[in-house]
C-alpha cells in the first residue's frame, strides 16, 4: 500500500500542478471582478450577440467535423481491421506519418494549398477548371479540422474492431444473419465504445480550437476559441477570458454527457 502511494506520487504532483491548480485559477478568475469581488458577469458575457454567434458557429463546425470524421473513419477502420497485418500496417503508417509532423505545420500547409494563388488553384487553372475559393471561410476550417483530427477518430474505432471476437461474428453468420445484419446487430453495437471515444477525441479539440480558425479563417471567421484567445491576449482581460472558458467547458462537458447517455440508452435497450 505504502509503495503504491509512493509510485503514485509523481502523477499526483503532475496532476495537481498542471491540472488542478490551473483549473482552480480559471474558476477563481472567471468568477471574480478585477477588484476581487464575486460576480457571474464574466460568464454572462457569453450572451452578447457576437459571442453567441461564435459559440454557435463553434458548435456547428465541431459537429460537422465530428460527423465527417465519423463517416470517413468508420469504413476505414473496418477495412484496416479486416486486412492482413502487412497490408494494415502499411495503411496505418500512411495515416500516422502526417501525425509525426507538427500540427501547426500541417495546417499551414493547407493554407498554402488553398490560397487564392495557391498550389491547388494554380493546378486547377492549368487544367482550365474553375478555381475553388474556400480559404478564409468556415469550409476551409472544417477541412483543416477534419484533416487534423481524423486519426483520433480512426484509431479508437480500429482498436475496438480489431479486438472484436471473430467467433462472435461467425456465430451471427452461423445463426443465419447475412453480412448486413451482422454489421447492424453485432459489429456496430460492439464498436460503440470506440465510436464514443472517437467522438470525444474529435469533438473537444474541434470545439475549442483557435489555431485552425486563425490560419484557415484568416481572422474573418471567429470561433469561441478565437474570442477567448483575443480576450486573453489582446484585451488582457483574464477575468473575462476565464469566465468565457468556464462556459465553454460546461458546453463541452454537457455535450459529452449527452453522447454518453445516448450510448447507455443504446446498449441497455433491446436490439
Amino acid at each position: 500500500m505504502k509503495r503504491r502511494r509512493l509510485l503514485a506520487g509523481p502523477y499526483l504532483f503532475w496532476s495537481v500542478s498542471f491540472i488542478i491548480i490551473p483549473l482552480f485559477l480559471i474558476v477563481c478568475y472567471g468568477l471574480t471582478k478585477a477588484d476581487g469581488g464575486f460576480t457571474l458577469e464574466n460568464a454572462a458575457h457569453i450572451t452578447t450577440p457576437e459571442n453567441l454567434k461564435a459559440l454557435g458557429l463553434s458548435l456547428l463546425l465541431a459537429f460537422l467535423c465530428t460527423l465527417i470524421c465519423l463517416v470517413l473513419a468508420y469504413p476505414l477502420a473496418m477495412i484496416l481491421s479486416q486486412s492482413s497485418i502487412s497490408q494494415s500496417s502499411f495503411i496505418v503508417l500512411i495515416f500516422i506519418l502526417p501525425m509525426w509532423m507538427n500540427f501547426l505545420l500541417r495546417t499551414l500547409a493547407w493554407q498554402t494549398l488553398l490560397e487564392k494563388n495557391g498550389v491547388i488553384n494554380t493546378f486547377l487553372s492549368f487544367l482550365h477548371l474553375p478555381q475553388i475559393n474556400i480559404i478564409n471561410t468556415p469550409y476551409a476550417i472544417v477541412l483543416g479540422m477534419v484533416y487534423d483530427f481524423l486519426p483520433f477518430m480512426v484509431l479508437p474505432i480500429y482498436n475496438v474492431l480489431i479486438k472484436l471476437d471473430k467467433d462472435m461474428i461467425n456465430a451471427a453468420r452461423d445463426l443465419g444473419a447475412n453480412s448486413a445484419q451482422t454489421f447492424v446487430k453485432i459489429i456496430l453495437p460492439q464498436s460503440i465504445p470506440g465510436v464514443i471515444s472517437g467522438i470525444t477525441m474529435v469533438f473537444v479539440p474541434a470545439m475549442t480550437t483557435f489555431v485552425i480558425s486563425d490560419l484557415l479563417g484568416g481572422g474573418k471567421v471567429l470561433l469561441i476559441g478565437n474570442v477567448i484567445e483575443q480576450t486573453f491576449k489582446q484585451g488582457s482581460n483574464w477575468h473575462l477570458g476565464s469566465g468565457l472558458s468556464l462556459v465553454l467547458m460546461i458546453f463541452v462537458i454537457a455535450s459529452m454527457g449527452i453522447v454518453n447517455k445516448y450510448d447507455k440508452g443504446q446498449s441497455g435497450g433491446s436490439f
Partner: protein
C-alpha cells in the same frame, strides 16, 4: 442411419507452411453422433470450421445432402455451431442471445418466447432471461451457447468441446441431455473433444485424428478393443504397447516369450506392435505366470488398483481389484483374445503416429 448427410471429399487446409489437414476424407450419416477425437492442435476445430463454412478448404469439397456447399456462406447452411469459446453476444442479454437466430428467421414473438423458455429449461438455467453473458460463469455461458444453437432446430449441430468448462457432475448430466436431444429431435451431431471418455460414452462413431490425419474410424467398442495402430491404442485409455514379432498365425513373440493370440494373416516373423489393455493383464502366482516380474508401483484408484510390474525389461501397466504390494514377485498371464496385434507404421501417413505416442 444409412445415407451420407455430410461428405468431406479430399479436404486439405494449410496455414502458411503448416499443413493442418491433408487430403481428409470423412462422411457423416444422418442422425449419427460422430465425434472427432484427438490431441490439441490435430485439426479438429479446423475440420469443424470447414463444415460450418467459416473456413474454406484449399482443396476438396464439402457435400451436404448431395449438394456441394464448399462455397456456401455459413448463414445459408442448415447447421448450427457451438463455438469452443462460447462466442455469446456480450451486448445482448441471454434471451436476446437465444432469440437471435429466430428473429433473423422472422418467427412470431410467441414462438420465440416459448423457445427461449424451453431452451433455458433444457440447459437448466430457467430465469436467466435478463442476465448479461458477462455475469455468467464459464459453464453457464457454455450451456447458453448450446441453447442458442438448438432453438434453431438445425439438421446438424456442430459442437466444439461444448462441455470443456463444466465440472464432472454437470458434464455427465449434459452428456445425457445431448444424447436425449439427439434422439428426440433427430439432429445429427458432429462433436469435437479431446476427452476420450466423453467420446466413448456419447458417440455412435469416433474418428481418431492426429496431426491432420485420420487414424481410425469406428464405433467406440472397435476403437477401444481393436485399435488399428499404437497411437489410437495409446490415446484411447491406458495400454501396454509392446514391440513383438509375429512368429506365425496365432503365435506372437513378446519380449522374448511366445504368447498365444487370435490374429492371423500377418505372415511369419513379421515385426508388429502389440497392445494389451491394463485390465487384461492378470496377475497370478509366479509359478503360474507366462512370465515373471516384480511389482514396482502401486496406486489406489477407487474402482481398482493401478500397478506397474517390471517383467522382461518392460514396465507392465496393470489394473486389478486384487492388490499386490510393491516388491512382490508375481506371474503375468494374458488370455489370447486380449492380445491385439497391429502392423508397425510404414507409410508416411502413419509416421505422424509415433511422434505423439
Amino acid at each position: 442411419m444409412s445415407n451420407k448427410l455430410i461428405d468431406l471429399v479430399h479436404i486439405s487446409k494449410t496455414y502458411g507452411t503448416n499443413t493442418v489437414l491433408d487430403n481428409l476424407d470423412l462422411y457423416i450419416r444422418e442422425n449419427e453422433f460422430l465425434t472427432l477425437l484427438g490431441p490439441s492442435g490435430c485439426g479438429k476445430t479446423t475440420t469443424l470450421r470447414i463444415i460450418g463454412g467459416f473456413e474454406t478448404p484449399d482443396s476438396g469439397q464439402v457435400i451436404f445432402d448431395g449438394k456441394d456447399i464448399t462455397a456456401l456462406p455459413p448463414n445459408k447452411r442448415q447447421l448450427n455451431t457451438v463455438f469452443q469459446r462460447y462466442a455469446l453476444f456480450s451486448h445482448m442479454n441471454i434471451a436476446e442471445n437465444i432469440a437471435f437466430g429466430l428473429k433473423i428467421k422472422n418467427k412470431t414473438k410467441k414462438y420465440i418466447d416459448d423457445k427461449i423458455r424451453y431452451a433455458l429449461k433444457l440447459v437448466n438455467l430457467d430465469g436467466y432471461e435478463n442476465r448479461m453473458p458477462d455475469s455468467l460463469s464459464g459453464g453457464q455461458q457454455q450451456r447458453i451457447a448450446i441453447a442458442r444453437a438448438i432453438v434453431n432446430e438445425p439438421k446438424v449441430l456442430l459442437l466444439d468441446e461444448p462441455l470443456g468448462a463444466l465440472d464432472l457432475k454437470l458434464r455427465q448430466d449434459m452428456q445425457y441431455e445431448l444424447i436425449r436431444l439427439k434422439n428426440e429431435l433427430g439432429i445429427t451431431f458432429v462433436y469435437v473433444t479431446h476427452d476420450q471418455e466423453e467420446a466413448l460414452t456419447m458417440s455412435d462413431t469416433i474418428v481418431v485424428m492426429n496431426q491432420g490425419y485420420i487414424q481410425q474410424i469406428g464405433t467406440p467398442e472397435t476403437i477401444y478393443n481393436e485399435p488399428e495402430n499404437a497411437f489410437v491404442a495409446d490415446f484411447i485409455g491406458d495400454s501396454n504397447i509392446l514391440s513383438g514379432i509375429m512368429l506365425k498365425d496365432r503365435l506372437v513373440n513378446i519380449l522374448g516369450t511366445p504368447f498365444q493370440c487370435v490374429d492371423e494373416g500377418f505372415g511369419t516373423n513379421t515385426p508388429v506392435d502389440v497392445v494389451i489393455r491394463p485390465e487384461d493383464v492378470n496377475l497370478v502366482k509366479p509359478e503360474d505366470g507366462m512370465i515373471r516380474g516384480i511389482v514396482t508401483h502401486l496406486i489406489f484408484k477407487g474402482v481398482h488398483y493401478e500397478m506397474e510390474v517390471m517383467a522382461n525389461n518392460y514396465e507392465w501397466l496393470v489394473h486389478s481389484t486384487d492388490m499386490f504390494p510393491v516388491g512382490t514377485e508375481v506371474g503375468i498371464r494374458v488370455v489370447p483374445f486380449d492380445i491385439q496385434i497391429m502392423n508397425k507404421p510404414i507409410s508416411e501417413d502413419e509416421e505422424a503416429v509415433n511422434i505423439e505416442a
